[in-house]
Symmetry: C2
Subunit: 174 residues, 2 copies
């Protein structure tokens, strides 16, 4: 998993043979576990998301005022995503945006719960569909990763830029 | 172009042979113009964007208060995108997000100019990179299309949902 993750992030077109070499296993062994590049890519994404869970939980999205909790969750989410920016781009291209979004359902459930709680507290708006507000967070997080990849957004200010963009979009309208 | 656009939107996996049939030409003729599915897809996207130009110009993004102009431009942009939701999804998958964004550069130049003007007028924020604000508009427009495709966002309220989300994100912070 780790070897595949590194190889794909460094060189999107990397072959299964090269991934097997980097992992120190034979091609036959790699194919025995992952019959296709697509299956391997899905496993790598799921592995990266699973490893992100404790980082996202450490942001304690259920604690304290909802807007503060969202800032913490966005910083943690960016921290994880920033590490996987290239991998996400490869996977988005090869698996498609729809399947990538589905694989993020569990990770995005934290955002959904937090937005739901924040609505009840009056911290977030309730004039738009909750699902759309989750999409707004998901889309801008990944758009920031793409902009950093493309050299359009400075990496070191990306988290604060995201917070500055998302909070006014999610707060109750003036 | 029109036949290919309809075929791809209706059935993403449609073959070149089926597109040729729908266009009333032979496969050899189709391949003479478009040597691969990828080349055809790029041409279809460029054609759809070129046909959108007069619709976007009719929104007169250079006229009147910048925030009002952005609302008009967003409504026109959605009107065009809504027609090509499925096609965009297919092309995003097959050509990749990076190339799709590049092909939208000219269309997005209107948004960039308008945001630039609105900053000078104090209607839009200037504490975030202009390129990021353009990305925010582009990303949420296409995220709305994906959410309508997925049945997560009602089609008839998508334009107003977009405006309600984007304006507070782009206005000077409170």
């Amino acid at each position: 998993m780790e070897a595949a993750q590194d190889c794909l992030a460094e060189q999107p077109q990397v072959s299964m043979a090269a991934i097997a070499r980097a992992a120190g296993v034979g091609r036959v062994t790699l194919y025995a576990h992952f019959p296709s590049r697509e299956v391997l890519l899905e496993a790598v994404i799921d592995h990266a998301i699973a490893r992100a869970e404790p980082v996202l939980d450490a942001a304690a999205p259920g604690d304290g005022p909802a807007a503060d909790a969202l800032c913490r969750l966005l910083r943690s989410s960016w921290q994880v995503l920033d590490r996987h920016r290239r991998l996400f781009e490869v996977a988005q291209h090869e698996l498609g945006a729809v399947r990538m979004r589905e694989r993020h359902d569990q990770a995005m459930a934290r955002v959904e719960q937090l937005l739901h709680r924040g609505r009840a507290e009056g911290a977030f708006r309730d004039d738009l569909p909750l699902a759309w507000m989750v999409t707004t967070v998901y889309s801008l997080l990944h758009a920031a990763a793409a902009d950093v990849n493309a050299g359009r957004l400075p990496q070191d200010s990306a988290a604060e830029t995201l917070i500055a963009t998302l909070l006014p979009a999610l707060r109750p309208p003036r």
